[in-house]
Symmetry: C2
Subunit: 268 residues, 2 copies
C-alpha cells in the first residue's frame, strides 16, 4: 500500500483523486486512495469495435464486468462521476496503435477522437476491501506487491475479433479463509464475483505457480490453497491481441476512481 | 437412492412418510422419500440435560443446527408437522441407557417419559437436494452409498457435559463445482451451511481420507478437492460420550420427515 503523504491524505473520495490526476498533481498508482470508492479499469476503443466488445463483455462477465460505457465520442460517464473526464482524470494512460504501446501520457485529451467509446471495467480493489475488512490476509497487499496474475487454459467466449485466454489473479488463503472469501466475493458479481478456480493450478493451464505472467509472485504456504479470480487484465490482453488501429487504457495500477461506493455493488 | 416401490411412490410428502412409519408400513431409511421436504436428525434427552444441550447447540450451530425443540414431556413439535408424534413417526429408533445402545425399536411410545425433551437437527439431505438440482455430482448418492464422515481435530465449543470433536461429511468435487457448492450451501445455515474445510484433510486431523469413521469411503479423483461440511453426527457422538442415563435418537438414515419445505430454509 502507498504510504500516506500529505497530499494523499486528502485524496479521500473519488472526485478528489480525479481532480488531482487532472491537475497533474497525482501521477502514480491509485492503490489505497479514496478507500471505499470504486476504482475501475479503462478501455477506450473506436466505435467500429465497440459493438463487438460489448458482446464480448456480455458473454464474459466474470473477467469483463462493465461498470459504465460512454456515448460514442463523449468523455463523460455521468453514472460513475458527475464531472468525470475520461481523458484527463486518470494519473497515467497507455496509448496503443495497431497493438503496440506507443505512449504513456498523463492525459489523452490531445489524442482524443470523436469516434471513441470508453468502457470502465470492475477491479478487484473493490472486493479486496471487503476481504480485508473481514480479517482475511491478503499477502500481496501486506507485502506491497502487485497481485500475481496468470494466463490460463480457460477460453473466453469470442465475439467479433475479441477472443483469447482468461487471465486470473491468485490469492493464497487457508481453507476456512478461502471458503469465507468465496462467500464474500460472491456478493460482488460486478467486480469479478466468486473465484473461477481453487486448488489445482495445472488443471487451468498454470504450469508454474511461482511464475506469474503479470504482477509479482506470491508464496503459497503448506496449509494454504491458491484461489483464482477472473481478472480485469483479461480484456486488455484480449484487446492487445486483436491489434486495433487505436486504443487507450489506463496504466497498470493507475485506475479511474469513481463516485460510486464499493458497498453499492454488493448484491446481498 | 432407494428404488421406488409401489408404497414409496405415494410417500411424496412429510405427513405420508410419518403415517407410514407410524403404522409400521415403513421400517427402513428415508433417503429419496418426500423429496422437497425437510428431514431431520432426532435427539431426545431428559429435561435435566436439555438446558446444557440447548447451549451446546447455540454455540455450535454448524454441526448442531436446531430446527425444532419440544416442550418438556411433549411428543409434538407443531412447527415441524401439525400431527407429528415424535415417539412413533420415525421408521427406526435407537434407545440408549448410560451411553449404551440397548434397543432399536420401530416406536418409542412404550419407553416415553414425562421429562423428555426432543431436539430436531438439520440434515444434509436438504442441501444435497439443492446441489443435485444445480447439476453438481454427488458421488455417494449416485453410488447408493452413505456419505463419508470423519472425526476431526476441530473441537466443538463445550456446554455443561457436552463436548468433543466435530464430525464432518466429505464430498469430492471438481474446483469450479466446489466453489458453486460453497455458494449454494451458504444459503442454508439451518442445515450445516457452508463447508468448514476444503482441500487439506490432514490439517483438520484426518489421517487417511480413504478410511471414514462413519459411512462409506468415497473415492477422490485427481482433479477433485475433498470438501468438508459440519455433520449432524456430531451431536450424537457428543451425547454418546456424555453417557446420559437415557436418550433416544433416530437410527442412521431413518430420519424424521417434516412438513417444512427445503426451500423455506434458504436465507437468500
Amino acid at each position: 500500500m502507498r504510504k500516506a503523504s500529505p497530499e494523499n491524505r486528502i485524496l479521500n473520495d473519488g472526485r478528489a483523486v480525479r481532480l488531482a490526476a487532472r491537475s497533474g498533481a497525482l501521477t502514480g498508482n491509485t492503490a489505497g486512495l479514496a478507500l471505499g470508492f470504486v476504482q475501475g479499469n479503462l478501455v477506450v476503443l473506436p466505435e467500429a469495435l465497440a459493438g463487438d466488445f460489448l458482446r464480448f463483455a456480455q458473454r464474459n462477465p466474470k473477467p469483463c464486468p462493465l461498470l459504465g460505457v460512454s456515448e460514442p465520442g463523449s468523455r463523460t460517464i455521468p453514472e460513475l462521476g458527475l464531472d468525470l473526464d475520461i481523458a484527463t482524470d486518470i494519473p497515467l494512460y497507455r496509448v496503443w496503435r495497431n497493438g503496440e504501446l506507443v505512449d504513456e501520457p498523463g492525459a489523452v485529451d490531445a489524442v482524443w477522437r470523436d469516434d471513441l467509446v470508453s468502457f470502465v471495467i470492475g477491479c478487484s480493489f473493490t472486493f479486496e476491501e471487503s476481504l480485508i475488512a473481514a480479517g482475511l490476509p491478503m499477502r500481496h497487499v501486506s507485502r506491497g506487491d502487485n497481485v500475481a496474475m496468470f494466463r490460463t487454459s480457460i477460453a473466453t467466449k469470442p465475439a467479433g475479433p475479441f477472443q483469447g485466454p482468461m487471465v486470473v489473479s491468485m490469492r493464497p488463503l487457508r481453507p476456512a479463509d478461502a471458503i469465507r472469501a468465496i462467500q464474500i466475493t460472491s456478493r460482488f458479481p460486478a467486480v469479478h464475483g466468486a473465484p473461477v478456480h481453487i486448488g489445482h493450478p495445472a488443471d487451468i493451464g498454470i504450469a508454474d505457480i511461482s511464475k506469474p505472467d503479470y504482477g509479482d509472485p506470491t508464496e503459497i504456504m503448506a496449509d494454504e490453497l491458491p484461489v483464482f479470480w477472473a481478472c480485469g487484465v483479461t480484456p486488455q490482453s484480449v484487446i492487445a491481441a486483436t491489434r486495433p488501429d487505436f486504443a487507450i487504457t489506463h496504466a497498470p495500477g493507475c485506475m479511474l476512481v469513481t463516485d460510486r461506493r464499493n458497498t453499492e455493488y454488493a448484491v446481498i
